[in-house]
């Protein structure tokens, strides 16, 4: 039925082993032989059997990319950039892919990126991790904020440890990386970090990080040195700080905050940055209204109403992300309030549509494409991890038309 390695071998007049060697290119093969084999592959339109290959080689060419919401461009951009790098398939030290790569022949180079939509559900996250473990995935990228709560963090850390032990490369992108700290490291003697790598446009925002903790018990596995997880954290705190500082500089004091879902690392970090800026400018954060809800437009609408109810004199609203900010704008408009004349509004992420909103949204730009591509290269082992296996992706304040000085 389907053509196998043996068929190709027969056609080329060689052994199956030789065909395998030609296809994988990890072994010396006479040029003439290689050519004959490749021709046979082509003529028979042979396509390797992935599962068989994975079974024999104990490693598949699948790479998982977990996202919270695939319909959200935030994750789409991240995942798309990562997938491009993963499919490009440069291995360690930029090794070009094996013979026949690029062309849809027997053994194209590059790996298959599996984008998994968790919907923000911890259970789904664990399920996908298990599914990926079961496929013996070559790597896994976890994107976006994580659900906070020790039991879930521990469960994820456990699964990641299992994956790592299995040889799966792990990259945390846009996650604070708390899970990473509980994963048994391969080289526990190396200090985890401090002065970790930094990437991005240097803003002016304070990128504060609480000291990284070491794993409790250095449990060196019996096997070979497994690479530890790499963390690409977003500077949510710094970005939020800069954004709120911008509003304060404009003269705003009565600022409301439309936060993201509760118990999410991203939510907490952004809120912390916001409050830190408030406090630094003599505004008591406790006296300011805050709402919580999902990263959706509808919640933004509700949040605006709620915040306004708690402080009718609000002159500015900071939203946890651009999507929420758009909802806030809509609700404000509906109540006859102009943006930014009556109320200033700001978002976070700088997604493509934000510049098109009316007025164009003041926000904090995250280099999502770059970060996703970086994560992709890291998970492929195409690039050396940053010092301390951790880097901070900086956020850049982007001032547009939705913020202005308060009236009067």
């Amino acid at each position: 039925m389907t053509v196998t390695l043996a068929d190709v071998a027969a056609r080329a007049g060689v052994s199956a082993a030789t065909v395998s060697r030609v296809l994988n290119g990890n072994y010396p093969v006479a040029d003439s032989t290689r050519e004959r084999v490749l021709r046979a592959v082509d003529e028979l339109e042979y396509v390797v059997n992935g599962p068989a290959r994975a079974l024999a080689a104990a490693t598949s060419d699948l790479v998982g990319v977990l996202v919270n919401d695939i319909a959200d461009p935030f994750f789409g951009i991240l995942a798309g950039a990562a997938q491009t790098e993963i499919a490009r398939g440069a291995g360690p030290s930029g090794t070009p892919a094996p013979a026949g790569s690029g062309t849809p022949s027997g053994h194209p180079g590059g790996k298959l990126a599996v984008v998994c939509n968790t919907g923000g559900s911890p259970a789904a996250e664990l399920t996908y991790l298990t599914l990926l473990q079961r496929q013996r995935a070559a790597g896994v990228i976890l994107t976006g904020g994580a659900v906070e709560g020790t039991e879930h963090t521990a469960a994820v850390a456990d699964r990641l440890a299992r994956l790592a032990a299995q040889g799966t490369r792990i990259v945390l992108c846009g996650r604070p990386g708390v899970e990473a700290e509980s994963i048994p490291r391969a080289r526990p003697e190396e200090a985890p970090t401090r002065g970790a790598g930094v990437f991005g446009a240097s803003g002016g925002a304070p990128a504060s990080w609480p000291g990284a903790r070491r794993p409790r018990t250095p449990a060196p596995r019996g096997g070979e040195p497994v690479p530890g997880p790499v963390t690409l954290a977003f500077d949510n705190r710094g970005g939020a700080y800069a954004l709120t500082a911008h509003l304060l500089a404009l003269g705003h004091r009565r600022i409301g905050y439309a936060a993201g879902p509760v118990d999410r690392t991203t939510t907490r970090e952004r809120l912390e940055g916001h409050r830190a800026a408030l406090a630094a400018h003599g505004v008591d954060p406790a006296g300011r209204p805050t709402a919580h809800g999902p990263y959706e437009r509808g919640y933004g609408c509700r949040a605006a109403v709620e915040l306004l109810a708690r402080d009718p004199g609000l002159t500015a609203v900071v939203a946890a992300n651009d999507t929420i900010a758009l909802g806030v704008c809509a609700a404000l408009r509906e109540r006859g309030l102009r943006v930014p004349e009556d109320v200033s509004v700001a978002g976070f992420d700088d997604l493509p549509f934000s510049v098109d909103a009316a007025p164009a949204l003041t926000t904090v730009r995250l280099p999502l494409h770059e970060a996703g591509a970086w994560a992709g290269r890291l998970v492929m082992g195409a690039e050396a991890p940053p010092p301390g296996d951790r880097a901070l992706v900086e956020a850049a304040l982007t001032v547009r038309a939705s913020t202005a000085p308060p009236r009067g």
Copy 2:
């Protein structure tokens, strides 16, 4: 190193075959035995080896979902909905997943949806199809418009045929399904279509197919009748017609069209619908300006400028999709033209952000979520295909604030 089936068998005091049987649940096993096995699985934290399973069973639990642009919510919504259904894992006749499903145990039910980003490139599309074929994917969903051109259409049809022959279920979602027509059908005597199924707003309740299903039989090995591809086509033509008719009814005659990328089925269909409406109302399509470009905001801006240059008296611009429409609005605003007072603008798709644009966009709503979920169910074999293996997903005109009667 990693725990295998044999380990579990030993722990439970049974044979490997028995463990396999309880895990797959397709075979009678004594309750007491099953319980012991499950306990062993749990204690050992056993996780099946996907590749090995796929090799032995000649079918993997991967399902591919090809999209043109993962960063575009259009595809994100489609893919997310499909993935949810695929992960749910109801097999034929809604069979609940096997033992231990849901929990991150040995063998969770459901399959792994692989979202592949082709970037609209025919080459990438073929590469992914090959990759999926190599993984012996259980199914493949192709979404979005296809590149037109006989050679590529033929190449895709060829790959799909190969996949189908291998037992991979194929679903075309949002594609006209030209490829399907060139794929060797299993039952060629059946007329491909005519009076095909219809799904959509105007149809009222979502169509359901209570069709009788055969009792669970082993997968057809060998030359058994392979199910042909199923096509879920979007009514791009009808939607575009309705939209332009709306503009004409408002009194517009000088209408410009910002079309999508050339040689794309979606582009062609929407343009055809637009022109048909024009012609039906006595406006010569040939006399109206049309621009072509990618589904991006930037192109929308350029298109507005170009269309205006070709007809400064334009009173309305129809865009191929919402993203382009937003760009058009931005460019218009920049030139001091108000929407809709000076120029009306309309989009297509009704993506979530369209209602937030200022003014809210008049567009054509496509039930993306429903269509994606439907495709997911079809590819899982959880639902019988529509009659003729083809259905039309209807589009609904959604009038909002960006369109109004022309001035004067």
